[in-house]
C-alpha cells in the first residue's frame, strides 16, 4: 500500500501507540489496562507502520526478532515469582517494596513484582502478534 496520507499518519501515531501501550501497562494493576492490552496496542502500532511502509521495514524497526520478545517475556514472568520464594512466601506472591516513583502520565508508580509479571505478559503478547505477522507475510512473499 502506498498512500501518502497513511504514511504521514503512521509516522505520528505509531510512536504514540507505543507510548499509550506503556501507559496502559503501568496503570494496569488496579485500573483497566495491563500487560495483555498494552502488548496488543504496541503490536498494533508496529502493524500500522507496516501497513504504511511495508511489513519488512516495520519488523526491521525492532531491536530483536519477535521470537526473542516472547522468550524475554516468558523469562520476566517466570522470574517475577522468585523474589516471593526468597521471602518465604508461595511462588508469585506479589511483593510491594515501599517505593513510589512519580511518572507524569500514569500517576505515581509503585514498582512491585506483579509489575514484572505484567511486563512479561506485555513482551510475550507483543512478540506473539508480531511473530504471527512475520510468518503470515513471509508466506505471502514466497508461496
Amino acid at each position: 500500500m502506498n498512500s501518502l496520507l497513511l504514511q504521514v499518519c503512521a509516522r505520528i501515531t505509531s510512536p504514540l501507540q507505543i507510548i499509550l501501550s506503556l501507559i496502559l501497562l503501568l496503570r494496569g494493576h488496579n485500573e483497566p489496562g495491563g500487560g495483555f492490552i498494552g502488548g496488543l496496542v504496541a503490536a498494533a502500532g508496529i502493524i500500522l507502520y507496516g501497513f504504511a511502509f511495508g511489513f519488512h521495514r516495520a519488523l526491521c524497526l525492532l531491536p530483536l526478532p519477535p521470537i526473542s520478545f516472547i522468550a524475554i517475556g516468558l523469562l520476566l514472568a517466570a522470574f517475577s515469582g522468585i523474589p516471593a520464594l526468597l521471602a518465604g512466601q508461595p511462588y508469585l506472591t506479589g511483593l510491594w517494596p515501599n517505593l513510589s516513583i512519580p511518572t507524569f502520565l500514569a500517576g505515581n508508580l509503585k514498582p512491585g513484582t506483579p509489575l514484572f509479571f505484567d511486563l512479561g505478559v506485555y513482551f510475550s503478547v507483543f512478540g506473539t502478534v508480531l511473530l504471527m505477522l512475520e510468518t503470515s507475510t513471509k508466506n505471502e512473499n514466497s508461496p
Binding site: 521470537i67 522468550a71 524475554i72 523469562l75 515469582g81 520464594l85 512466601q89 508461595p90 508469585l92 506472591t93
Partner: protein, 512 residues
Amino acid sequence: MNLLLVLPIFLPLVSAAILLLIPSAKLQRWIHIAACLAHFAASALLLCEVLRKGITASQLGNWPAPFGITFVADTFSAMMVLITGLMGFLVAIYSLDDVSSEHQKRGFYSLYQVLLMGVSGAFLTGDLFNLFVWFEVMLMSSFVLLALGCSRHQLSGGVKYLVLNFLSSSLFLTALGLIYSVTGTLNMADAANILKSSPLGISSMSAAMLLMVSFGIKAGLFPLFAWLPASYHTPPVSVSAIFAALLTKVGVYALVRVFTLIFTIQVDFTHDILIGISLITMLTGVLGAAAQYETRKILSFHIISQIGYMTLGLGFFTEAALAATVFYIIHHIVVKTNLFLIAGAISKLKGTAELKKIGGLYAESPWLALLFLIPAMSLGGIPPLSGFFAKFALVKEGVSLHAWLSVFVALAVGILTLYSMTKIWAEAFWKASPNENGDFGLGDAPDPTPTSSTTPSLPSLPASFWAAITAMAAVTLAISSWPQWLFDLSERAAAELSTPSHYIQAVLHSKQ
C-alpha cells in the same frame, strides 16, 4: 516446599525461553539435556519431600485455598512427576541423534520443554480450571510437535488428533461450568468437600459423565480412541515416544484424581461404567494391534489396551486395586516408551518399520534383540518382569472381588499382547531378511544402502540410542528385581487416594 512444588514447572518454562533465545544448535542440545536432567532432579527431590512430610500444598500468589490456584503434591502426583522427569530425560538423550536439524531449527527443543511443563503442571495442580489450562499447554505443544515437518501423513493424522482433543477440552469446560453451578468452586478439594455429603444431582452427575468422556478421549478409552493410532506413528520417534509415555497417562491421572476425590458417592454407577469401558478398551486395543503390521502402529494399539488395565483398577475402587493401577502406570510408562524407542532403532537400521519388509535383526544386532525382549516380555506379563507384578496385583484383586469377567478379559488380553509382541519378535528379529528369501525385490526396500541387508555392514546405531534404550531396560529390570519398593510407594499413594479427607485437609487448611 513452596519451591519444590513449583520447580518442575518453572525449570522447563525457563529453559524453553532460554532455548528460544539461543541460536547455536550445539549449545541448544546441551541446554536441552541439562534442563531435562534438572527437571528430573527437581522431581526426585519433590517425591522425597512428599514421602517425608506427607501431602504438601502451596497456594500460588498467597491467595487462600478455595479462591486461588493451589498446587498439591501427594504421593501419586509426585510419582507421576518423577516418572515424567525420568522419561523426559531419557527420551531427550535419544532425541539428540533422532531429530533432524530442520526440526531443531523450528523449535523442537523449546516445544519439548513446554510439553514437559504442561504435563508436570497437570499432575501438580489442585484446581480444575487450572487443569484445563495445563491440558491446553500440553496439547498446543503436542499439536506443533506432531505437525512439525508438515509431511502429508503427519498432517492428516494431526488433524484428527487436534479435532478430537479440542472436542475433549470443550466437553471438559462444559463439565466445569456444571460443577461451578452446583458447588460454586473449582478447587478440587473444595468441590469434593461440598459434593461428598449428598448424592449426585442431575447437574453433578452429568458433569461426572462429561468428565469421564473428556478424560477418556485424552486417555484413549474405548469409543473415542481413534486419534491415537491415527497420529502416533507419524512424527519423529522421540516425539511419539514421549507422547506414548506421557499424554494418555495424563488422561488416566485426571480420571483417577477426579473419580477418587470428587465423584465417590455413587460408586456402583460411575465406577461400574468405568469397568465396562475398560474391558472393551482392553479388547479392542489388543485386537486392533493384531491386524497391524507397522511396529509403531502395533504399539499404539497396545497403549490403548494397556490403558484399559489402568482404568480397570480405578473401576474396582478398592485400595489394593488403586495400588495396582499406580504400579501399572509407572511400569507401563517405562516399558512402552522403551518399545517405541526400539521401534525407532529398528527403522533406523532398516529404513522402514513395516514388519513385512524387514527381518534378520537377531543375527545382525543381537543386543538390540535382547533389549527388545525385556520390555516386550514385561508388557505381556511374563513372570520375572515388572509387567507380571502389575497384572498379578490387578488380577488378584479381581479374584478377591469375584469379578470373574474382568479377570478373564485381563488374562486373555495378556495372552493376546504376548501374541503381538511375538509377532514383532518373529517378523523383525527372528525371520530371515526378506531380501534373502527373494520375496521383495531390492527396488522395493526404501533402504538408502540396498546391499546392507545382504552384507552385515549395517548402519550402526548412535551411542545415544543405546544409552536411552539400555537405561530404560535397566529401569524395567530394577522394578522387576525389587518390586517391593515400588509396591510400597504405590500402596502409600493408593492409601492417600482412598482417604480423600487428608488431601482436602492439606489443601484447605495449609498454613500458606
